[in-house]
């Protein structure tokens, strides 16, 4: 089961990273004029890949722990917690203190907040590939 959860986490992380990179490109295309705002020092491809892989693997670890602790109710509790934590995490881009030389920082939450939901969406999206007969093993 650990191997299956590991690949579930990695795959969710990769999918979520791809979605984040695409969203970052769309944001840049839609809101950047003459290089402003430029949040590439904070949000860039390596950061997006790294954070999403960490999020995916943490989710896998959390799911494993939830199944251990709560048995058959584990997935239900984990899903609720994962959604709540994703929602709560939007406070971090809202309260983030950015470098003072960055311009139009009011737009930063618009870039970062949607990305906070990509790991949970990716995790749920690929569930059928990984959790099909999870409880029978």
């Amino acid at each position: 089961m650990v191997k299956r959860l590991f690949f579930w986490g990695i795959t969710a992380g990769i999918l979520s990273a791809v979605a984040s990179i695409i969203y970052n490109k769309i944001f840049t295309f839609a809101f950047t004029y003459k290089g402003i705002p430029d949040f590439s020092r904070i949000i860039n491809i390596p950061v997006l890949i790294g954070t999403n892989l960490i999020a995916g693997l943490l989710a896998a670890g959390g799911f494993w722990a939830a199944l251990r602790l709560f048995k058959k109710n584990g997935e239900l509790i984990f899903n609720i917690l994962f959604s709540i934590l994703s929602f709560a995490s939007i406070l971090s881009p809202i309260s983030a203190k950015l470098p003072l030389d960055l311009k139009n920082i009011e737009l930063f939450p618009l870039l970062a907040i949607p990305m906070h939901f990509f790991p949970v969406i990716a995790w749920f999206t690929i569930r059928p590939f990984f959790a099909g007969n999870l409880y029978s093993r």
Binding site: S95, L100, L102, I105, E106
Partner: protein, 174 residues
């Protein structure tokens, strides 16, 4: 001919006196200036500094600063805090769009200079003293502002009352 001598002398005195009026050097504010404010909370920068700077180390009597800072250019590093700072609760940008400092006297001190003048923030005018140095065509100074003096959200007890303002203003001869 004798009648002309006095008007001629008057004209001579007036024209020669004109050369005795020494105008201090005009300076243009460079682009890489910083107007920084720091406290335990909040801290940040203003990016909209403009005005006239007349300063001559040899003629402080004719030197004068008349500068304004665009309050809307405030950047605390947090978008929500910026919006909050511009609101009626704090700077009230709609009503008081700029911070002004007009010097009335510039004097030499042991460590540099002091500009005495009127600081206008949030519609409140107060006498202020700004100590500064002038080296390599750059003005550097710092002074404290008590936000209660300028009626900046005095009921807020969480934000620091004393805000340290630091200025580094490179200039070029105008």
């Amino acid at each position: 001919m004798k009648k002309m001598i006095y008007p001629f002398m008057a004209l001579l005195i007036i024209s020669s006196s004109a050369f005795t009026i020494i105008k201090s050097q005009d300076w243009k504010i460079g682009e890489n200036y910083t107007v920084k404010f720091t406290s335990s909370d909040p801290s940040g920068v203003f990016t909209g500094l403009k005005g006239t700077v007349n300063f001559d180390e040899k003629n402080l009597g004719t030197s004068k600063f008349d500068v304004t800072v665009d309050v809307a250019s405030i950047n605390t590093g947090n978008g929500m805090q910026n919006t909050h700072a511009k609101s009626a609760q704090w700077f009230d940008v709609e009503k008081y769009p700029s911070i002004k400092f007009t010097s009335s006297a510039i004097t030499k001190t042991a460590t540099g200079y002091e500009a005495k003048g009127t600081l206008d923030i949030h519609g409140v005018q107060k006498e202020a003293v700004v100590p500064f140095t002038f080296q390599n065509n750059t003005f550097t100074g710092s002074f404290d502002v008590n936000r209660d003096d300028f009626n900046l959200n005095p009921s807020n007890g969480k934000a620091a009352k004393i805000i340290k303002v630091e200025l580094v203003v490179p200039v070029t001869k105008a």
